[in-house]
């Protein structure tokens, strides 16, 4: 084994690992451990930079042939996932001044990085579990609220179901092809045999569950609502991006055909429509974002209808823009006396009078999530639907766009609360934490760059 290759090709993972070890060492050595946030932050930023640099240089290698390989698109995917974790970390200090939060978050990121370079289902499974298990605990960490336990349990059980389905699908796949490699999955796609189809569908269902596609979405609103804000942000952006980008890797350059197209298109469409409609009547911000993220998962899976080349570009760009904007909204969410209070949509009423900057930030996020130009969410959505139309599924594209139209209203309602409603009486303005400001800038600056010149990133993906 070539040690240099191993060191370079997995450097983002190594950097995260170093961070985890340092955090654990700090916990053991010091009586009153401090400095968790800086350590975790440095580790994630270093990993992001390493992944971006390797992506730009186009480094490609296979440190564990057949199990794990990296190329520039794998690094780009990792960079996207890692950069979305930075604002989540910056937001975490108020809720989690120290403790296991940071280690768990870094382990989850390690898992996310692993699945993005997996070549076999063994690595994929390992990475998925490494990514998910810490998140169950992260949801539970917000024990301040009673519902956290219930939500974490629900999430755990459904996550376990997803794992079980994945394993069943993989065992069928192994039985059919005698191989555990991801390429074998690609070969299965065109096979008509019922066993192969079952394997494909089972594996796909695992991804649907993890990405919260209707009808496998019921865990998401509860888990998003119960978790603390940084954890919700982490789940709705990093985990979702990781799962979707891993799915892109799984499907490779294979075009979908036959019933699989219908399955994918209809479930995505139902997610878009149901997510957008259910979001309208929510009174809690995080629940609303949960339903919106169900709709966005639908758009992301829509991209799979397109051909192989455009798929990665579309999903990567969309996941990045969507993640940045979601995080921006969470970062700008005003502080309140307690967590449940902070979550109420009514709490946003008259926000522009109290905190103009935060209100404008949330407004930008909402317009972008709604896909209204010139914000980058539009280009992302355009990219997806362009791929769908180019693949010849015009009808699905039109239906998807109509579904996305249904989503405009509830985003506008947030705007209406912030700008057009008077503030409720007795609400004290809370100062914006400096770290939250930093998190906003981390989201805003790349988003503005993507808005002004999307061609730069798209040319590289």
């Amino acid at each position: 084994m070539n040690w240099t290759t191993l060191l370079v090709s997995m450097s983002p993972e190594h950097l995260l690992l170093v961070g985890i070890i340092v955090l654990l060492a700090v916990d053991i050595v010091f009586d009153r451990p401090r400095g968790h946030l800086p350590v975790a932050l440095v580790a994630v930023i270093a990993a992001t930079l390493a992944a971006s640099a390797l992506a730009i240089f186009g480094y490609a290698a296979a440190p564990f042939p057949g199990q794990l390989s990296v190329d520039s698109s794998a690094f780009a995917a990792k960079a996207i996932v890692l950069v979305l974790a930075i604002p989540a970390l910056l937001l975490a200090r108020d809720e989690f001044p120290d403790g296991p939060f940071y280690v768990l978050l870094l382990s989850s990121l390690y898992g996310a990085c692993l699945i993005l370079s997996a070549d076999s289902f063994l690595t994929l499974f390992l990475g998925l579990e490494l990514m998910s298990i810490p998140v169950y605990v992260l949801v539970l960490l917000a024990m301040k609220r009673v519902e956290a336990t219930e939500a974490a349990l629900k999430y755990l059980i459904l996550g376990g179901t997803a794992t079980a389905m994945l394993l069943m699908g993989v065992s069928l796949l192994f039985g059919f092809t005698g191989s555990l490699s991801l390429d074998a999955f690609g070969r299965l796609l065109d096979t008509g045999s019922p066993m192969a189809q079952t394997a494909v569908v089972l594996i796909l269902l695992a991804f649907f569950l993890k990405a919260a596609i209707v009808p496998f979405h019921t865990w998401a609103p509860d888990a998003y609502e119960a978790a603390a804000v940084p954890v919700t942000g982490f789940m709705s952006t990093v985990i979702k991006a990781g799962v979707l980008l891993a799915a892109v890797r799984l499907f490779g350059f294979n075009s979908l055909s036959g019933r699989l197209v219908e399955l994918l298109a209809i479930l995505s469409l139902v997610s878009i429509v149901w997510g957008n409609l259910a979001a309208i009547k929510q009174t809690s911000f995080r629940r609303m974002i949960a339903y919106s993220s169900i709709a966005h998962a639908g758009y992301l899976f829509y991209a799979f209808l397109g051909d192989g080349e455009g798929r990665f570009q579309a999903v990567a760009f969309y996941a990045l823009v969507y993640g940045l904007m979601n995080m921006l909204a969470f970062a700008a969410l005003p502080m309140a006396a307690d967590d449940a209070e902070r979550d109420r949509l009514d709490n946003l009423k008259g926000l522009f009078q109290r905190a103009p900057f935060a209100a404008v930030m949330i407004a930008i996020a909402m317009f972008s999530l709604a896909g209204i130009p010139p914000l980058p969410g539009f280009v992302a959505k355009f990219l997806i639907f362009r791929n769908v139309i180019e693949a010849g599924y015009t009808l699905y594209a039109v239906l998807g766009l109509v579904g996305s139209y249904l989503g405009i209203y509830f985003y506008l309602r947030v705007l209406q609360y912030m700008f057009m409603s008077p503030a409720p009486a007795g609400l004290k303005p809370q100062p914006q934490a400096a770290l939250a400001l930093g998190a906003m800038l981390v989201c805003l600056v790349p988003a503005v760059i993507l808005m002004v010149y999307p061609g730069g990133l798209l040319g590289g993906l």
């Binding site: 130009p373 015009t394 594209a397 996305s404 405009i408 506008l412 705007l415």
Partner: protein, 527 residues
């Protein structure tokens, strides 16, 4: 090259304006107003220079900038001026300072955000007009929703939230299908020619089957017709106008509604010529229905703003009629009518705003005999009213007369060939002029004459700022009425281009007669 930079300056000055006023400290409201006005005025001056330098003898795009934007998809940042957009850009830039000045006393709440949004919508409107790339056009087109949503929603009247949501949801419904259509259009063009391009020029002359064209035209036309608005898609307009602050109404009536007709002339019809030819009778019928129905509704309104709102529907019906006539005079008339309506409707909404600031009601029945109490106001109001109904020497006459002339020009040969429908439409449209005179003059009579009734009166007549705004508006109203030659020469190439693209396209179905050669002959004979 230097002039191309000037056009970019015009486009981005509003963004500079936003940066300028956001950077200013709070509490200096007067300076924010003054600076906003200054930036808008500078924009108008530069636009006027560009207008003067525009060469009417060149058919091609002038002051062009073309840079790769999303190179992978063949999307270019491509802007420029031509006969289609020149007058509309000038109109937008001209109304900018007037809009800002008109809001000096009316808007007291959140004025930084307010002027930012005015600048933002100015940017989006100019961008929509100058864009020469389909995706760029769409982005600017949709961007207009954001500032308008906030302007109506924050500074509007009592039912502002209902009105602004209705406005956004209506407009977005149209454009979402346009997005699907434009992707499909570009993709099928790519299939046919092998070049991936969103440039307008590359997309004209598609070889799509007529059925396909029909679907795409329907998607584009839905979006444009909602913006115009054409009956039966007009119901958002009265709500938006009534609830919007004066500034919002002025922008809406002055420029925003022209987006729809501009979309039709620049894109909708030329992109899908064969389908458009087949759809023309329907378009013409809807245009005439808009003219008559809008006028009838205006006749029975009791709210001053609603009268003007419904009159907009009627006036834009003439624009659509002129375009659908496919006659050179009709097309040029339509372009002039767009500008003319922009001037008169903006002026009338400004004047309604001025009286509303003084009397706090828009009920027509509450007013009477303003001519005695507010003589200067009444003179300006009467001039704008007469311009709106198309009295000779005003801009309204030039527009409406040319449109009707064009409609008859193209209808007569069809009538001789046995198809009398266009002639019937043209005759009804002439009847619409009478209806227009009826509701506007009746409105003016009840408003300005009779026994003096002034709610919350007595009130002062116009102050100097208001007089200057209205005096400035009079200049182009009479300019277009007395000497329309120069602006018409600058838009002539565009009208010819439009006519060639739409009417000149060969119909695969030989049964559809082409009316154009005759109309052209007559045109040449009359010159």
């Amino acid at each position: 090259m230097g002039d191309a930079v000037l056009l970019n300056v015009v486009l981005y000055l509003p963004l500079f304006g936003i940066a300028l006023i956001v950077a200013m400290p709070d509490g200096q409201d007067d300076r924010i107003r003054a600076n906003s006005f200054g930036v808008m005025l500078a924009q108008f001056v530069i636009t006027a220079i560009l207008y003067l330098r525009f060469d009417p003898n060149i058919a091609a795009l002038q002051f062009e900038t073309r840079l790769p934007w999303i190179a992978d998809w063949g999307v270019y940042y491509h802007i420029g001026l031509d006969g289609y957009n020149l007058l509309l850009v000038l109109l937008t830039a001209f109304l900018g300072p007037l809009v800002v000045a008109g809001a000096f006393s009316a808007i007291q709440k959140d004025i930084k955000l307010f002027y930012s949004m005015v600048f933002f919508i100015q940017f989006a409107m100019l961008g929509t007009f100058v864009a020469q790339d389909l995706l760029l056009f769409y982005i600017f087109w949709e961007t207009m929703l954001i500032p308008m949503f906030l302007i109506i929603g924050i500074w509007g009247g009592e039912r502002r939230i209902y009105a602004t949501l209705k406005f956004v949801l209506y407009t977005a419904a149209g454009s979402i299908l346009m997005l699907a259509a434009l992707i499909y259009l570009v993709w099928s063009q790519y299939q046919a020619t092998g070049t991936l391009s969103f440039a307008f020029a590359d997309l004209f002359g598609t070889k799509l089957a007529v059925a396909e064209q029909g679907w795409l035209l329907a998607a584009f036309a839905l979006s444009f017709a909602i913006k115009v608005p054409m009956v039966p898609l007009h119901t958002w307009l009265p709500d938006a106008h009534v609830e919007a602050p004066t500034t919002g109404s002025v922008i809406l009536a002055g420029v925003l509604l022209k987006m729809g007709t501009y979309g039709f002339i620049k894109l909708g019809f030329p992109l899908f010529p064969q389908a458009s030819q087949l759809a023309m009778p329907l378009i013409m019928a809807l245009a005439v229905v808009s003219i008559v129905y809008g006028a009838c509704l205006a006749l029975v309104q009791t709210d001053i703003k609603k009268i003007i709102a419904y009159s907009s529907i009627s006036h834009l019906g003439y624009v659509m009629l002129g375009l659908a006539s496919l006659d050179l005079l009709g097309i040029q008339g339509a372009i002039i009518q767009m500008v003319s309506h922009g001037l008169t409707a903006a002026g009338l909404f400004l004047m309604v705003g001025m009286i509303y600031e003084r009397c706090h009601t828009r009920e027509l029945a509450a007013y009477g005999g303003l001519a005695k109490a507010l003589p200067v106001y009444s003179v300006f109001f009467m001039i704008l009213t007469l311009a709106a109904i198309g009295l000779p020497t005003t801009s309204g006459f030039t527009g409406e007369f040319l449109v009707l002339l064009g409609a008859f020009n193209s209808a007569w040969p069809k009538h001789l060939a046995g198809d009398s429908a266009p002639l019937v439409f043209a005759v009804i449209a002439v009847g619409g002029v009478v209806l227009g005179a009826l509701y506007m003059l009746w409105f003016a009579q009840r408003f300005l004459y009779g026994t003096t009734k002034i709610p919350h009166g007595p009130v002062l007549d116009l102050n100097r700022r208001e007089k200057l705004i209205l005096a400035a508006l009079m200049v182009p109203v009479f300019w277009l009425g007395l000497a329309p030659d120069e602006p018409m020469r600058k838009s002539e190439h565009a009208a010819l281009h439009f006519q060639k693209l739409v009417a000149g396209a060969q119909q695969p179905d030989a049964l559809v007669a082409a009316p154009v050669p005759f109309a052209q002959r007559r045109m040449e004979a009359t010159r």
